[in-house]
């Protein structure tokens, strides 16, 4: 059982290429316990559903209250054992190593997978702590690369301090700083390994002298709990929930039927779940800045600590629904490559709710220089200005009011030295900011009505995420000119953009 960590522990494992000797490490030995809970939780949920819907012979409730209640418990225990057994096997097979240029992860029981993520393509480093893991003080570290959905490398679970140290090391290496190896050549880890809990050198091995110091961070702002609750109360979901409750109560009083209540349960649960997720996910939201980029920390049950290095933000959206207008609150979302997909809602948020000043502060953290003289005036025009007020924004012509009677005055764009600003929407006001060097491709669309009016819609294609920058119904000439100039700007901006390794410029 005390196999040296450095030898491949599965047959058919290719030796690590290159001449650097990788030190393979295991994740924390408590990991299977934490992961196994997911299986037990799923079993309990299925049982719950069965008992609600009425299983065989009068439902599980009868079974639970009858003589054979222990069979249910035994079944649950069996499921738990299988779940944990599988997790233990998976833990045995999961090893990771940090190389000079890349992170390596090996996992999988039947289908072995070896993933090799280049550090200079690193897009973000997140530390996630689910509720169960928190009891053990464990964290999961996720390193996102730009390979699309599920392209990241998740290393978990690790002890909190180890995760922090690993993040610091990864960021330092990705930044292009020369960092000493975390452990000095590790004299044959495991040769005289005691028969105790083998592996887990990360938690047991004494850390050598600090090799990569956590970059100092400066807190920028926190979102007060009261404001978060108020902002969720002023959201569409809450309004719908209240309206729905009102309708249900009215129908119940009118008909005297209580069946309406149970029939409306799924909808209420859905909306309630959304509100609950918003509240717990965005709870205690803190924004900080460090040389390694923007740091975000949030969550109540599951906490997330995100680090987005400089130049990784592909597009930013500032959005305000009509319900937030009275308070002038804004929400800031970002596109970061690798953040798209399932957890987009949780990841791609830079600020859940904030005043205009705070939102613009956060914007300036990720895009420090917009390349304009008076950024505030231009941004204000982008946030809630329209074509009646003179500004640098080129707006859609008056004839498009047939196509967009509500917001036609808002539709427009402004070009600055470093970014393209696209504004639209009146009930839901949106300002999208795309740095020129992050433009992927450009598109123009024109429907039959737009052709008659001589207008066209312009789009910037960004990476997967909540921000879809577009400027609807621009004058055809404006759209054509924007398309041509933007293609050129994207090209020249890319040539002068900062390096992928963000510290190299100052470091050398």
């Amino acid at each position: 059982m005390s196999t040296p960590e450095t030898t491949p522990d599965a047959a058919g494992q290719p030796a690590p290429s290159g001449d650097e000797a990788l030190e393979w490490r295991r994740v924390h030995p408590v990991t299977p316990l934490v992961r196994g809970w997911a299986v037990v939780g799923a079993a309990v949920v299925i049982l719950g559903q069965q008992s609600l819907e009425g299983g065989p012979r009068g439902g599980l409730i009868d079974l639970l209250t009858g003589d054979y209640w222990w069979t249910v418990l035994a079944a649950l225990a069996a499921v738990a054992l299988v779940g944990w057994g599988y997790s233990v096997l998976a833990w045995r097979m999961t090893t990771y190593a940090i190389g000079e240029e890349a992170v390596h992860l090996r996992r999988g029981i039947l289908f072995r997978q070896q993933r090799h993520a280049r550090l200079d393509r690193l897009q973000s480093v997140d530390i996630r702590q689910p509720l169960v893991a928190r009891f053990f003080g464990l964290c999961e570290l996720t390193l996102e690369t730009a390979g699309g959905t599920d392209s990241g490398v998740a290393i978990g679970f690790l002890k909190g301090s180890d995760a922090d140290a690993l993040r610091a090391e990864l960021l330092a290496r990705a930044a292009g700083l020369k960092v000493a190896r975390t452990s000095p050549s590790a004299p044959a880890a495991g040769t005289e390994g005691p028969p105790g809990p083998e592996g887990a050198p990360t938690s047991t091995a004494p850390e050598p002298a600090p090799v990569a110091v956590e970059a100092p961070q400066v807190p920028v702002l926190t979102v007060p709990v009261g404001r978060l609750i108020a902002s969720v109360l002023r959201s569409g979901a809450t309004i719908m929930l209240l309206l729905w409750a009102l309708v249900v109560v009215v129908v119940m009083i009118a008909t005297g039927e209580f069946a309406v209540l149970s029939a409306s349960l799924p909808a209420v649960l859905g909306a309630g779940g959304y509100v609950f997720n918003r509240l717990t996910g965005e709870f205690d939201f803190r924004v900080a800045i460090s040389p390694d980029g923007v740091r975000l920390r949030h969550g109540m049950l599951e906490t997330r600590s995100q680090t987005i290095p400089p130049g990784r933000v592909q597009a930013v959206r500032l959005v305000q629904s009509v319900l937030w207008r009275g308070r002038d609150w804004w929400r800031v979302q970002v596109n970061v490559a690798g953040y798209g997909g399932d957890s987009e809602e949780k990841n791609s948020l830079l600020l859940p709710v904030g005043t205009r000043d705070e939102a613009l502060t956060v914007l300036s953290l990720v895009l420090p220089d917009l390349g304009i003289e008076e950024p505030r005036r231009v941004l204000d025009a982008g946030l809630d200005g329209d074509s009646r007020a003179p500004s640098v924004f080129v707006t859609a012509p008056r004839r498009t009011r047939i196509l967009d009677p509500v917001a036609w005055r808002r539709n427009g764009f402004a070009v600055t030295g470093r970014a393209l600003l696209l504004r639209r929407g009146r009930l839901v006001k949106i300002l999208d900011v795309v740095p020129h060097e992050r433009t992927q491709s450009l598109g123009i669309n024109q429907g039959p009505w737009q052709r008659r009016l001589g207008v066209a819609s312009f789009q910037v294609h960004s990476t997967e995420g909540p921000v879809h920058p577009e400027a609807p119904h621009l004058d055809a000439d404006d759209a054509a000119r924007l398309m041509a100039e933007q293609a050129r700007r994207a090209r020249t901006a890319r040539a002068t953009a900062g390096p992928e390794r963000w510290m190299e410029r100052q470091g050398e």
């Binding site: 200079d120 393509r121 897009q123 730009a146 699309g148 592909q314 490559a337 798209g340 992050r438 433009t439 992927q440 491709s441 450009l442 598109g443 123009i444 669309n445 024109q446 429907g447 039959p448 052709r451 001589g454 066209a456 789009q459 294609h461 960004s462 990476t463 997967e464 879809h468 055809a476 000439d477 759209a479 054509a480 398309m483 041509a484 293609a487 994207a490 090209r491 890319r494 992928e500």
Partner: protein, 160 residues
């Protein structure tokens, strides 16, 4: 007024007219079969089935009229630094893909395409929104375009 779909410094390459056949055959199968079934049913069972026959038949007629125009509307152009693709008759679109943003290029050909001597080239950037597909290219042109795009992308290589 200049049309945004006709940049002045661009000469468009057309795709092969054989693409009309390649698009009509599936349309004929998907719409023709229900139409024939509808005709048979209306003759044998009830005249109501003429509706079932008429709808696909009308759609098929529409496709026969539209597809040649659609194929003629597809154009692509290689500029020094980017590739332009336009398409659409009623709903027109134009996409500009800088070579440096290209992540990979796909060349695909289905059985019907191979038979007709056609291939489809698709460009992928880091954005899923990039809808840059050039259908109906002769295989040698597709290969040439692929190599050219790959080499140009390499020359302007950048991360994201």
């Amino acid at each position: 007024m200049t049309s945004p779909f006709e940049p002045h410094d661009v000469t468009w390459n057309r795709v092969s007219p054989r693409l009309v056949t390649a698009m009509l055959v599936p349309a004929a199968i998907w719409l023709g079969v229900p139409a024939v079934v509808g005709v048979v049913l209306s003759l044998t069972l009830s005249p109501w089935f003429w509706i079932l026959a008429g709808l696909p038949a009308a759609l098929l007629l529409w496709s026969v009229l539209l597809i040649p125009r659609q194929v003629r509307a597809i154009g692509y152009a290689e500029r020094d630094d980017d590739l332009l693709i336009r398409k659409g008759v009623l709903f027109r679109s134009l996409v500009v893909v800088p070579y440096g943003r290209m992540q990979y290029v796909d060349v695909e050909a289905g059985p019907l395409d191979r038979r007709l001597g056609l291939a489809k080239v698709q460009l992928h950037t880091a954005s899923v929104g990039t809808d840059a597909v050039i259908p109906g290219l002769p295989p040698e042109e597709a290969a040439r375009l692929r190599d050219r795009l790959a080499s140009r992308g390499e020359a302007r290589l950048a991360g994201l």
